[in-house]
Amino acid sequence: MRLFSRISSVRLLAAFLALWIAPTIRAQDQVTSQVQQGTTPQDQVTAQDATSLQDSETISPVPIFSAGLAYNSFVQGGTDHVHPLVSPVILVPLGQNWLIENRETFEIDLAPQPGSNGNYKGYLQKEVDYLQLDYIANRYMTVTVGRFVTPFGIFNERLYPVWIRDLQTDPLILPISTGPSGAGTGAMVRGGFNATNKVEINYATYFSTLSTYTPLDSDRAFGTRAGIFLPGPRLEVGGSYQHLLQDDHSNAFGFHFAWQPPPIPLDIRAEYARSHSGSGYWIESAYRLSQAPIWQNELRHVQVVARMQQFYLGQVVDGSLPGVNTNMFEFGMNYYFRDDIRLVSSYGRQFAPEGGNMNVWNIGLTYRLALPVGHGEVR
């Protein structure tokens, strides 16, 4: 069985490697084929540029297949976890104003089972993160129907994909008001517009119905999120509110903050959320060493990350949240081979009563691919 476990790990590694290499080989094949046909990529790009310069808006969009992939190894409180994940995304534009978006996640948490002589076991989890139809009604509003990621705070909707997040672990407060699966099923109105030259406003208002069908679980609720973005200092602040239309009809609210000071490659993000199940916050900073005075060629690929978070237990127990008051500090270092391939690593220390103190180590790889479906070329 242990040999089988090792073979499974090797297979997962091989599958990850194959998925990573495939588009590169495909791109190389395209270049080879173009050279054989007597056209260079530059000819093709020049022709496309000529079209683009005439009017970028006349470019007809092409469906895209994209995916986020991750292979993470965690050691959590002395227990190993191997966590491969594939999250395919399909985007299908229709006409000038419509878009179909779908993202699903397939992941396995492999861990040694008690009494199984160290054999790794786990089961495949399938989630439909979003499957939605968007209609861009005008410059102020987009109407969405279907299954959508709950727009509460910023992590769930913007930072959740494995190839985006700087630390691979979820914030402790993530389950607050994002529902049983982080998604809602219903309708949403959202948009962003310029209030003045220096102020942008974004908003999302949604209604979700109850769904108990796995993997399309969702709560019956309505909510809204609004944010103000100042492009000059690259600062965004905003708030979220949700009212549950089932069970105890409770309210939840939260605030978010994001700042990328223009002169330096630093990201600072923070969230606070409060509901009847608990409250808490996380604050994270990530610094890319692209301005290091020494070894710049090497260090510009390196990003250092730190996150601090606290969770306070509420009046109602929610199984997806910690069962006790919990504090956690995490430090990470990521290495960007390219903008789409990273080696990620982190160390965290969790402090919680009743034997909840533990170390959390992580090392892994993340990758994002994007391929056209139909007539599109990788530049």
């Binding site: 092409v62 878009l99 410059r139 973005f229």
Partner: protein, 129 residues
């Protein structure tokens, strides 16, 4: 314990392999880029032709050619700024995609990241040049 070591060693080995492969791929891209730049050097005319054709499409006469270039460059500079302002809020700046893919990706980002209509147009123009 052995399995843990195997997992960590496996990830490290895979990371090393990816680093090597990415380095080789980057080297190939650099070589191709150098070749393409060298190939394109003898023919600067198309660039000028592109800007003037853009100007002619906007019913401009021969005299305002320079302002048209400035406008184009200003739009691209503004597009680059909007790109870093908006896209950098969540993730590292991605490499450019083919124009038709970019047109889809920017529509996706308009919905997902609630970027404004103006930002979308300027970023699309910048990313497709």
């Amino acid at each position: 314990m052995i399995t843990r070591r195997i997992n960590i060693l496996g990830v490290l080995a895979l990371g090393g392999g990816l680093a090597l492969f990415a380095g080789l791929a980057q080297g190939q891209q650099d070589q191709q880029g150098t070749k393409l730049v060298a190939d394109s050097k003898p023919a600067p005319a198309p660039a000028a032709a592109k800007t003037t054709s853009s100007a002619s499409n906007s019913n401009a006469t021969a005299a305002p050619a320079a302002p048209a270039v400035e406008t184009e460059e200003a739009q691209l500079a503004e597009g680059e700024k909007r790109f870093h302002d908006n896209c950098g809020r969540c993730h590292q700046a991605p490499h450019k995609l083919a124009p038709r893919m970019m047109a889809t990706a920017i529509r996706h980002m308009r919905v997902r990241a609630t970027i404004t209509d103006e930002d979308m147009r300027l970023i699309l123009r910048y990313m497709t040049q």
